[in-house]
Symmetry: C3
Subunit: 424 residues, 3 copies
């Protein structure tokens, strides 16, 4: 029986105790949340970030959580473990997101150069929840917590190389959040693969579980513009909102079109409507604040829908048959390929960027003042390669670790089933 008494509890309590100690030693409020000092004006900063932060927060626990409730006998585990992972990673990533322990960390609600924050924590949460989707229903809570603990570290390494060293641009995380989370999770899933996963009768939806899942889809769709725009400033922030709204709208229309026509009875598939409609948000991420123009946003969203819907329809079953890749939520189609697409698009936009057209914001967006646009495009691709390399390699190692038979590993009959871990 998988659910051995107390292992998850012990792990969580030890981790929470460690968080307490580390926060006590290293973490303080940022000046904007510290003692009031009338010589500082910090009030407008909260107003600037808070509404978008809350939107992103909703995406984490309602969006991801309910999207995964499509499984007919795994609703508690989907929404519940999603909630647990969010709360675990918020704390862990506040600590890990800043590499240097030479100075005290400070918590604010936003991103600044050296004080990472609640918003940044939610981005780490998103990465982990994407990986969770790849192994939904086939791992135990103990395995999830182990995975999250490791993944947050690897996620930060990838950001260190790609953002700090390569100075790539990726406001919405097409590469560093979506592609990373997807390929890390897929590597874990591949290593953990067992034949019994692929013909479980429990792996499927029922009528009402599909409607619950739509709650998740729609809140993700609605608040995605905040996800892609929250770290931005000035007119770029407004542009990121507009681009993301347009991309998602076009993506949804094209997804409906392709879902029907690729079915032999011409019927729509809820899996596509729940997932592929969101690919426009993923693919728009890396260039949301760039001058792609409104028609460019529509084109990006439409392309993402094609990649994602066809991925769900044709590629996913193929990968499962051929390379034994079982991907419960199809994160390869929603986050993996659209993330790569977003990275490639951002490289093209960066390479053709006209400095004059960007006016005062060119070096806000492309920070390295010594590079040509073409070089900037090259570094976007280099960052993508690094992200994929780190995600797949560290994901594989994590998977091997999780395969050890000491983490409440599930047996065949326990897959996709709430009764193992929940009183039902």
């Amino acid at each position: 029986y998988s659910n051995t008494r107390g292992k998850a509890t012990a792990l969580l309590l030890v981790a929470q105790a460690i968080f307490l100690v580390l926060f006590g030693l290293f973490v303080d409020y940022d000046v904007s949340a510290g003692p009031r000092n009338s010589s500082l004006s910090t009030h407008s900063t909260l107003a600037h970030y808070y509404p978008m932060y809350q939107d992103v927060h909703v995406m984490m626990v309602i969006g991801f959580g309910f999207l995964m409730t499509f499984l007919k006998r795994h609703g508690f585990g989907s929404v519940g473990f999603n909630f647990l992972l969010t709360c675990f990673v918020i704390q862990w990533s506040i600590l890990v997101n800043d590499f240097s322990f030479t100075y005290r960390l400070t918590i604010t609600i936003w991103l600044t150069e050296c004080s990472y924050s609640l918003l940044e924590a939610d981005f780490a949460v998103a990465t982990v929840l994407i990986s969770f989707g790849a192994v939904l229903g086939v791992v135990s809570p103990v395995q999830l917590i182990m995975m999250a603990t490791i993944e947050v570290v690897c996620y930060n390494i990838s950001i260190y190389v790609g953002i700090v060293q390569f100075q790539a641009t990726d406001i919405g995380g097409s590469m560093f959040i979506h592609a990373f989370g997807a390929y890390f999770g897929l590597a874990v899933a591949r290593v953990l693969y067992k034949k019994s996963q692929t013909n479980s009768r429990k792996e499927g939806s029922e009528y009402h579980s599909d409607i619950f899942a739509m709650i998740g889809t729609l809140f993700l769709w609605l608040y995605w513009p905040s996800f892609n725009a929250a770290p931005g400033n000035g007119t770029e922030r407004h542009r990121a909102v507009i681009n993301t709204v347009l991309s998602l709208a076009a993506c949804t229309v094209v997804t409906f079109a392709l879902s029907a026509v690729t079915d032999k009875k011409n019927k729509l598939d809820m899996v596509h409507i729940q997932n592929a409609t969101l690919a426009g948000g993923v693919a728009m991420g890396a260039s949301a604040d760039l001058l792609v123009q409104p028609f460019g946003a529509l084109l990006i969203g439409s392309s993402a829908a094609v990649v994602s819907t066809l991925g769900f329809r044709y590629l996913q079953p193929l990968l499962q048959r051929t390379i034994k890749l079982h991907d419960t939520c199809g994160v390869h189609n929603l986050h993996g390929m659209p993330g790569v697409l977003g990275a490639v698009i951002s490289a093209i936009i960066a390479a053709v960027a006209n400095k004059a057209a960007y006016q005062d914001s060119y070096h806000e967006l492309f920070k390295n003042t010594l590079r040509t646009p073409g070089q900037n495009g090259g570094f976007q691709i280099a960052a993508l390669v690094v992200v994929l390399a780190i995600a797949i390699s560290t994901g594989t190692i994590t998977g091997l670790l999780l395969k050890l038979q000491v983490w409440d590993n599930l047996t065949a009959v326990e897959l996709f089933e709430d009764e193992v871990f929940w009183e039902v």
Copy 2:
């Protein structure tokens, strides 16, 4: 069999291609979302509009979408086609909302004199979704897309006459959104009426579908103050929030009172709680930013509850029996009559407005500086008449077009049934 292969797909793909071309030719970012220029300060504008815009956005896809899931075998179609229509109309209405193609359109998140916007697009979406409610479960996706395409144009004609020419005031769209959407949809529904609609056993709710519908109701109720206030400015905007909160609160209390007492076993009817509780938002719309006083807001909400609840209980079955008007969601009771009520109230408030009491905002609200208050009241009524005339006439024509047997029209057994268009 209705769902002929590929018709909806072809229509959507052609439309999306046309949107791409037209956006490429005509649409650009507004200066507030364009290249950053340190001589312009646009940052606060996003902060000003974005939270209310997001609330309105939630009303469209969660609010309308889930409200319609009350049908026991049409949950996918309700929330799914609502989602598709939203995404289709966002794009189409950005193009149509501005009549003149002589200059390039610009997209911003807000309303200004000559650059229509994402917020305005959502108002067009709302109008179409109201009409959708009148024909829910009795039309195919192809018919819905055709209807939406035509309706957005007619909606703009009505705004051109009522707002641009008559200079009527209607911040929350009692007339131009709610009454227009309802009577347009009802005209379509009347023309499409078939006897088989009225005794389908599938047209009904079940226990859990009624709870899903409450998700829609409550998000509509919660964010309605943003809907009525978003286009406003200054103290009028705050007043619109307060008036709408009060009107909705009173409306809900009176709806509970009347729902019980009009039932012969004195039981509450979920249809009323899901719908009539919102009539206070509709009726408050046209005068939300006027000085109706707090008790006036309570009175307007209470009156709307009376009209709407009695409409659901007595008028709707009567209209179905006598003039063969089948109205799936009862939009006549929630949007039609309360919209007319709101228009009449706004005419009265405008006619008795005391210029001095409004201080600096009188001509912000009543733009024509040559008119007396009485004349302003008259033009409110004139605008209402125009809205109803355009809605009913163009809705009827649209219905006749949709009756042609080329749009995947549904047969009797296919009504209110997801299996026709969805893999279940």
Copy 3:
């Protein structure tokens, strides 16, 4: 048969008529929502409060409403009567929240010294909804309306003594909202107790009702930082957000740990995940804007999880057996004990407060300039004692009143059952 014709309707209509008259006599818009006057700048105030107000509003009708839908045959009553109570109390508490009728009331969206507001109204709503949780499924709508009417008055008395006279600090309402609402409701529940309540087969959840309840849980969890921060200003407001996010994250992790380990099969209990995860918000309330430090917030959340989870697991059944306290939603574990814990923590933090550390905000938080920190701590405890004394005494009296057999009182078979008051 309990549902006697028209009693609830009559009560609601009379109340609504009284609200109309009293609003007409006494209530006006605040200057920030009145006629625009270019010499006043009020625009930013709406921006400052509105997003957090809307979050709090969502907590009331979606959060509380859906949290209570866990009962398998009481979904309509849970979400429906929660909605009715919200709308009733918004109006009633706007009137009652200001004691003095010597000047006209003014409505704004925020809290100021003498004009109470929509936000304050929602705090009164929260208090009543907490009490509702204690008697969920065992009272009629008539009893609920009577209870709410009385409770709003008693709630204000407790605030008058604790906030106005004792000058206690409690930004998030640990004492005045959570502890008050819980102990008032528990006193009512104790008086109304009947043996038949404790072995009703209808008092339980089913698979999908537990997932509906998670919608409520998650929106409460997400928007709790707004609840605790909305009345704040300056850096304290930002700090309240950060503290509440951290407290809730730690609370959730510890709740998962303890829920599993206290079960003999080591399975998680949805009751704990739905409720005890929120105790961190309750316990953080009274010191959310104080300098508890990030690790302090984690510690408070962790402690709240211990108290709440063990309360659900061990204390609640014990109290039911021994003192016949039937608490349908376990409000004692979620609001009662964590509220008391929050009060005690705030007393400690106040007593050890270092004036210098708070810089310019010390007397914003601790208003009485004549007291020592130790005395401030003492007054926090004094306020808690007053809150408990008023809640329990007035709750008991209210319970005795509601026991009179004239309020559609429920019989044994009608408990936890929608069919009594709803067409199903």
